[in-house]
């Protein structure tokens, strides 16, 4: 088992004939991902790395099945592409687009919530269950990072993912599933919303979250731990601990979030909930060993 995708997940790729779409589709296939078809309007009949291409998701679904959609689509077309996948009955979607307009993020998230779908992204490298399947931008060639194992990883930051996950591997562990929540202020799926899947996954022993300054996603993880929705060991690293107070969003940001958002606050909430918080990436491995009682 794993979280979000595994060897059996059938994936269709929207924007498959583009430069990024075709390049990463090849790698997804190479990593074992079952890609059933691709979509680019006007390119039906072509194929990309053996993957047949259709004009639309609906037309692809007449010939093939798909459980998940991988979107290599520019930010301003992302909403349309997500809705097209949802309309096709697909309930797992990953979008790597960086720069999706905020109001469209809200619409996408609302649409996904209302039909029980999970849309991961934007501004992410995607998701990977090492050794099984990948949707997104993960290189198979960095073996010291994407090693199969029993630690779940969730991350807000693409650049920190390699850094911190390398420390997980250095600590003697590997990764069960890695979910790139993404770096946008309104990620389409939030940390806490993925926790039940990690909790249920028998192949995940503990979870590492890679957080950042701002927002309330880390606090929500602490709440889920306090509420016993998630009871496995959890180690967190949160960037931006010494950052000066950023630009203020008027008063509304502070009022709306009730004072969440500072790294100190996140640290405190997570610690109170029983998580171990690493002050630097190199402590993530040792803290995992501590949490899992490994000497």
């Amino acid at each position: 088992m794993s979280v979000f995708i595994d060897k059996t997940t059938l994936v269709e790729v929207q924007g498959v004939t583009g430069k990024e779409g075709s390049f990463w589709t090849k790698h997804m296939v190479d990593l074992g991902t079952k890609v059933t078809f691709g979509v680019t309007p006007g390119k039906e009949g072509q194929s990309v790395e053996g993957v047949p291409v259709y004009h639309t998701v609906a037309r692809g679904l007449r010939e093939h099945k798909a459980d998940a959609a991988m979107l290599f689509v520019p930010p301003r077309f992302t909403k349309d592409a997500v809705y097209e996948a949802l309309d096709g009955g697909i309930r797992k979607i990953v979008t790597i687009a960086d720069g999706i307009p905020l109001h469209e993020m809200i619409q996408i998230r609302q649409a996904a919530k209302s039909c029980g779908a999970m849309v991961i992204g934007g501004n992410t490298s995607g998701v990977i269950s090492p050794g099984q399947a990948m949707m997104g931008f993960f290189p198979y060639w960095i073996e010291r990072v994407y090693k199969p194992g029993r630690i779940g990883v969730m991350t807000r930051s693409g650049s920190l993912t390699n850094e911190v996950t390398a420390e997980v591997v250095k600590g003697g562990f590997g990764v069960s599933s890695l979910i790139g929540i993404g770096g946008d202020s309104v990620p389409l799926t939030r940390f806490a919303e993925m926790l039940p899947a990690f909790q249920a996954d028998p192949d995940t022993d503990a979870v590492v979250i890679i957080g950042e300054l701002g927002g309330s996603m880390e606090e929500e993880v602490a709440e889920a731990m306090e509420a016993k929705i998630f009871t496995k060991p959890l180690v967190a690293f949160i960037g931006g601990r010494t950052a000066p107070e950023g630009k203020r969003m008027g008063h509304a940001g502070a009022i709306a979030t009730g004072g969440t958002g500072t790294v100190a606050g996140k640290h405190k909430a997570l610690t109170r909930a029983g998580a171990l918080v690493a002050s630097k990436p190199s402590l993530v491995g040792p803290l995992l060993r501590e949490a899992l009682h490994i000497k």
Binding site: D98, P101, I106, S125, S157, G158, R241, H251, A254, I255
Partner: protein
């Protein structure tokens, strides 16, 4: 993109939200026109993007023309770098209300926040008496509905003739928020005048940066930035923040850059600038180095761990930038990820000493800056 107060108020006026009679003064020569427009007494408000203007003395009252002239002269002093003053009629205030619209990322809705007691102390009030903050979520596809306005008004205690005006203010705020891809629209205070009218006393408006391409009216300009270098970086699309230390950062990705910043502070170093040349900028080492070198540096620290952003391309770019710009300070490179063997080769060939551990690289750079190493 955060707008200036006068811009926010222009957006308000366009949707029928009343604002005080005002005049945007760009030169002391225009004081006469300003007084003609606003009368006396009037309020002088420096148009800067930082908060807490009242407490910083950037909002002042003038009862006479002489007083106004003196305020204007003082606020336009070159050291202050203030470009514009908003001169407004003084309002006869009965009550101050707080009203804003922002995004609720958890619920995936827009959310109105309101409070019957507005003004500069709203955050303190919200912390002490959260029950006084009235909230109302709006589904963006359904749009703002009448009953939601009705709830806000009754919970604010606004009834009678003012309720009618307030309905129009609330729906106007929603309309301009949606039309301009806002992440925040705030009126604080929203005055109720002694004459029983509603007037937007101040206005904050932030446009989502990801939506600027479809908001052609609002483009990056020098005035939105504290320094030329930050403006230049922004026009180049390179995330850049100015600090006052001596360690220049050339890093990739917000999370990693921020973490390097933390590690430098932990080690007792001081950062000169925050700069990302990852993501779409990974081929732009030259421009990144150029920006970085505008600071007075003791060392340049390069940290990347890239996937799409190939290590060899970044290393090559770095080497070319060094050859072209000839920085006089040491460079500590820690470039990892896709094709890092090739990157290592390129760096070594150029006489650099590549590192592979972020924390080790940080300690080395801090030591150099402190003169303990080189």
């Amino acid at each position: 993109m955060k707008l200036f107060e006068f811009q926010a108020k222009e957006l308000f006026q366009a949707v029928g939200i009343p604002t005080p009679k005002g005049y945007v003064l760009e030169s002391a020569d225009d004081i006469g026109t300003a007084i003609e427009k606003t009368g006396l007494p009037c309020i002088v408000k420096a148009q800067v993007l930082t908060g807490g203007r009242g407490k910083a003395g950037l909002i002042r009252k003038a009862d006479t023309r002489a007083q106004l002239e003196s305020h204007v002269q003082d606020l336009f002093a070159p050291t202050r770098k203030i470009k514009r003053l908003l001169i407004e009629e003084a309002i006869d205030i009965d009550r101050e209300i707080y009203l804003s619209l922002t995004v609720d990322p958890v619920k995936a809705k827009l959310i109105f926040l309101a409070c019957a007691e507005g003004g500069v102390d709203i955050e303190e009030l919200a912390a002490k008496h959260p029950e006084k903050i009235i909230t109302r979520s709006v589904d963006i596809d359904q749009g703002l509905m009448d009953y939601q306005i009705t709830n806000l008004l009754f919970d604010l205690g606004i009834v009678g003739d003012i309720a009618k005006q307030a309905r129009s203010v609330i729906s106007g705020l929603y309309k301009t928020f949606r039309a301009h891809d806002a992440e925040l629209a705030e009126i604080n205070p929203l005055f109720i005048t002694k004459q029983g009218a509603l007037v937007a006393g101040d206005g904050k408006f932030i446009i989502d940066d990801n939506s600027l391409t479809r908001q052609p009216k609002f483009q990056l300009a020098r005035e939105y930035f504290d320094s030329c270098i930050e403006f230049e970086a922004a026009t180049e699309g390179i995330p850049y923040l100015q600090f006052d230390g001596d360690i220049g950062l050339l890093c990739a990705g917000a999370g990693l850059t921020t973490t390097v910043y933390d590690l430098i502070n932990d080690a007792g170093g001081k950062v000169a600038n925050y700069l990302e040349f990852g993501g779409a900028n990974y081929k732009r080492a030259m421009k990144a180095m150029e920006l970085c070198l505008k600071n007075n540096l003791k060392v340049i620290l390069v940290v990347t761990f890239g996937t799409i952003a190939r290590a060899d391309v970044m290393a090559q770019g770095l080497v070319e930038a060094i050859q072209a710009l000839k920085p006089t300070v040491p460079i500590v490179p820690c470039i990892r990820g896709t094709n890092e063997e090739e990157a290592t080769r390129i760096l070594k060939e150029a006489g650099l000493e590549p590192l592979f551990d972020t924390e080790e690289a940080v300690l080395k750079a801090v030591a150099i800056a402190a003169g303990r190493s080189k």
